[in-house]
C-alpha cells in the first residue's frame, strides 16, 4: 500500500508541477461551465414562457430533468472523451521517453503496485473535475430546489465513466514513447467505443446487441437518469479491471517476457 501511495503521490505531483493539471481543469471548467450556463438559461427562458402561457397542458418542468440530466447525458461524457487522453497520455509514455521506467521496473515494487498507483494518481486529478461539475450544480440549490437524490447516481456514473476511460488510456500509453501519439490514439479509441451503440440504429442482430452493450454510452444513460443499475455498475468495474489487466500485460511485454 505504501508503494501504491508513493507512486500515486508522485503522479499527482507531476500533474501539478507541469501545466497539464491546470490546462485539463481549465478546459473542463470552461466547457462544463458553458454547457451548464446554456442549459440553465434555456430552462429559465422556457419556464417563463410557460408561465406566460398559463402552463396549460404542459408537463411539469423540473431542474433535474431539464438542466442536470442533459448535462450528464451526452455532454459531460463527450468532454471527458477529450480531456481524459490528456491525463493518461503521459502515464507510461513519459516514463518510457525519459528512461525512468527503468527505475520503476528495477525497484522492489510489483508492476501491479505501479499500475494501481498511477491509476490512482490520474483518478485524483479526475476527481477535481467531478468537484468542478458539482460546484456548478450546487449553485442550482441556491436559486432553485432540485432533487438531490439523482445527483448521487450521476456522480457515481461520471466517476465510473471517467475511471474506465482512464484505465483504457493508461493501457494505450504503454505502447509508445510519444505522448501525442498516446493522446490521439486514446481519443480515437474512446470516440469509437462511445458511438458503438449507433449500430442499433441500422442493425438489429446479435452483433449489434453485443456492440451496443459494449458501448460506454449505453451504460451511462441509467446513471444520468439517476438510476444505479447493477448491470451498469458491473460493466464499468469490468472495463476498469480490464484496463488495468491489459496495462499489466503490456508492461510485462516491455520486459521481453512475452
Amino acid at each position: 500500500m505504501r508503494n501504491i501511495l508513493a507512486v500515486a503521490g508522485k503522479e499527482l505531483r507531476a500533474y501539478f508541477h507541469s501545466p497539464i493539471a491546470y490546462l485539463v481543469m481549465a478546459v473542463y471548467a470552461v466547457l462544463c461551465g458553458f454547457f451548464f450556463y446554456s442549459f440553465t438559461a434555456t430552462y429559465v427562458v422556457q419556464t417563463f414562457r410557460m408561465q406566460a402561457m398559463g402552463g396549460m397542458g404542459m408537463p411539469n418542468m423540473t431542474i433535474n430533468d431539464y438542466v442536470i440530466r442533459p448535462l450528464f447525458e451526452g455532454v459531460l461524457s463527450i468532454v471527458l472523451l477529450l480531456v481524459i487522453p490528456l491525463i493518461t497520455m503521459r502515464l507510461y509514455a513519459e516514463e518510457k521517453r525519459s528512461g525512468t521506467i527503468e527505475l520503476l521496473l528495477t525497484s522492489p515494487v510489483t508492476d501491479f503496485q505501479i499500475i494501481v498507483g498511477k491509476f490512482l494518481g490520474a483518478l485524483m486529478l479526475f476527481g477535481t473535475m467531478i468537484v468542478i461539475t458539482f460546484a456548478f450544480i450546487s449553485t442550482l440549490f441556491i436559486y432553485g430546489n432540485p432533487s438531490a437524490k439523482p445527483l448521487i447516481a450521476q456522480a457515481v456514473g461520471l466517476f465510473l465513466f471517467g475511471a474506465s476511460l482512464l484505465a483504457l488510456g493508461m493501457w494505450i500509453s504503454t505502447f509508445t514513447k510519444n505522448q501525442i501519439i498516446a493522446a490521439v490514439v486514446s481519443f480515437a479509441a474512446f470516440l469509437l467505443i462511445y458511438v458503438l451503440n449507433w449500430v442499433t440504429a441500422y442493425s438489429s442482430g446479435t452483433i449489434s446487441h453485443v456492440l451496443s452493450y459494449l458501448s460506454l454510452t449505453t451504460h451511462f444513460d441509467g446513471f444520468a437518469k439517476g438510476v444505479v443499475d447493477l448491470k451498469d455498475l458491473v460493466y464499468y468495474v469490468s472495463v476498469i479491471v480490464l484496463g488495468i489487466f491489459l496495462t499489466a500485460r503490456s508492461v510485462e511485454a516491455l520486459k521481453g517476457r512475452v
Binding site: 508503494n3 507541469s18 525519459s98 527503468e102 527505475l103 525497484s107 522492489p108 515494487v109 521481453g256
Partner: protein, 332 residues
C-alpha cells in the same frame, strides 16, 4: 555475490547476448568492457530484472532474479545509461521518492537522503529542479538514487559518461570507495576506467565473453602477441639471422634503420622471457646494444585485439609472411 549463468537474450532474430557466464565476488568491482552495441546494457538490464532473459539465470546474493524479483531488487541499486530522473522534481523530492519505492523505512528516509546527497556531492543543489541541472549533476543524482537503499549490489551502466575530467576522477574515487561494502558491476567502453577502478574485467564483444580476468592478468595473458623492441648497432641481416633462431622467438622484423643503427621488433612466444638471451647474443656477437625494451600491450591493444578479432587475425596472418626478413635484406 552475483552469479550469471549461460545468459542468452534474443530480440527476434537478433542475438543480443549469447551464453554469457561470470561471477562477481563480494566487495569486488567488476568492469564490463566492450564496444558500443556489444550487449553490456542488455546484460545489466537482465541482472537488474528490467529485462527477462531468453535463457539462463542470474542470482544476486543467492536469490534468483527471475524467481523472486522483489527480494533481488531490494539488494540492487541500478544506474542506467541515462540517469532515470524526473526532471520536474527537486533533487530532494526525487531521492525521497526513490527511497520510498526502494523500501527505505519512513524514519530513516530523511537521513538517507542527506547521506547519499553528501556522498555524491549533490547536497548543494538539493532544492533545485533536476531538469535545470547540468549533465554532471544529473549523473550524480542518478548515482545517489542507486545508493539510497544501501544495496549490496550496484549495477552502474557507464557511470562516467558525460562528465568532465575532474568529475570523472571524483566519480571513480567514489566508486572505488564503494568497494568492500558493495559489490559493483560497472560497464564502460573507456579503457583507462577499467584499469583504474576495477579489480576484474569481463570483455564482451558481439554478445559473447571474449576474455575475463584482472586487468594485469589480461595484459599478461596476451603478452605472447606482444614483443620486444631492440635497437642494435650492427649489420641488420646478420642480427636478424642470429636472433631469429633463438628459442622462444617467432619472428624478427625491422622497424627502422638509421645509419648503422637498426631497431628490430622481436615477436615472442607466449609467456617466454627472451630479453636476457637477446642481450647476450647481441653482446657476444660484438654488436652494440643500444636499447632493449619490452613493448607490453596496453589494455587498449588488448581490447582492440579481442573485440576486432577477425581483423586482428587478418593482420596477424599478414605479418606472419616472411616479409620481415626479406624486407630487411632488401633495405641493406
Amino acid at each position: 555475490m552475483i552469479e550469471v549463468e549461460n545468459l542468452t537474450k534474443r530480440y527476434g532474430p537478433t542475438l543480443a547476448v549469447s551464453d554469457v557466464s561470470f561471477q562477481v565476488q563480494k566487495g569486488e568491482i567488476l568492469g564490463f568492457l566492450g564496444p558500443n552495441g556489444a550487449g553490456k546494457t542488455t546484460t545489466m538490464r537482465i541482472i537488474t530484472g528490467f529485462l527477462s532473459p531468453t535463457a539462463g539465470r542470474v542470482r544476486v546474493a543467492g536469490i534468483d532474479v527471475a524467481e523472486s524479483p522483489i527480494e533481488a531488487k531490494k539488494r540492487l541499486g541500478y544506474l542506467p545509461e541515462n540517469p532515470p530522473v524526473y526532471t520536474d522534481m527537486t533533487v530532494n523530492e526525487y531521492l525521497a521518492f526513490v527511497g520510498r519505492i526502494k523500501g527505505v523505512p519512513r524514519g530513516e528516509l530523511k537521513k538517507r537522503v542527506t547521506e547519499v546527497s553528501e556522498k555524491c556531492a549533490v547536497a548543494d543543489v538539493q532544492h533545485r529542479q533536476i531538469g535545470k541541472l547540468s549533465k554532471g549533476y544529473r549523473q550524480r543524482v542518478g548515482l545517489a538514487q542507486a545508493l539510497i537503499h544501501n544495496p549490496e549490489v550496484l549495477i552502474l551502466d557507464e557511470p562516467t559518461a558525460g562528465l568532465d575530467p575532474k568529475q570523472i576522477i571524483e566519480t571513480r574515487e567514489l566508486i572505488k570507495g564503494l568497494a568492500g561494502q558493495h559489490t559493483v558491476i560497472l560497464s564502460t567502453h573507456i579503457l583507462p576506467e577499467v584499469s583504474k577502478t576495477c579489480q576484474r574485467v569481463v570483455v564482451i564483444s558481439k554478445g559473447t565473453v571474449v576474455a575475463m580476468g584482472a586487468p594485469d592478468e589480461l595484459t599478461a595473458r596476451l603478452q605472447g602477441y606482444g614483443s620486444v623492441l631492440v635497437t642494435v648497432e650492427g649489420p641488420a641481416p646478420d642480427i636478424i639471422g642470429k636472433l631469429q633462431v633463438l628459442p622462444g622467438v617467432n619472428l624478427v622484423e625491422q622497424v627502422e634503420s638509421s645509419g648503422t643503427r637498426v631497431t628490430l621488433e622481436v615477436h615472442t612466444e607466449k609467456n617466454q622471457e627472451v630479453r636476457a638471451d637477446l642481450a647476450r647474443t647481441i653482446v657476444e656477437s660484438g654488436w652494440g646494444l643500444i636499447e632493449l625494451k619490452s613493448s607490453g600491450m596496453s589494455l587498449e591493444d588488448i581490447f582492440l585485439k579481442l573485440t576486432t578479432k577477425d581483423l586482428g587475425e587478418e593482420v596477424a596472418a599478414h605479418e606472419a609472411l616472411p616479409a620481415g626478413g626479406i624486407e630487411a635484406e632488401s633495405v641493406n
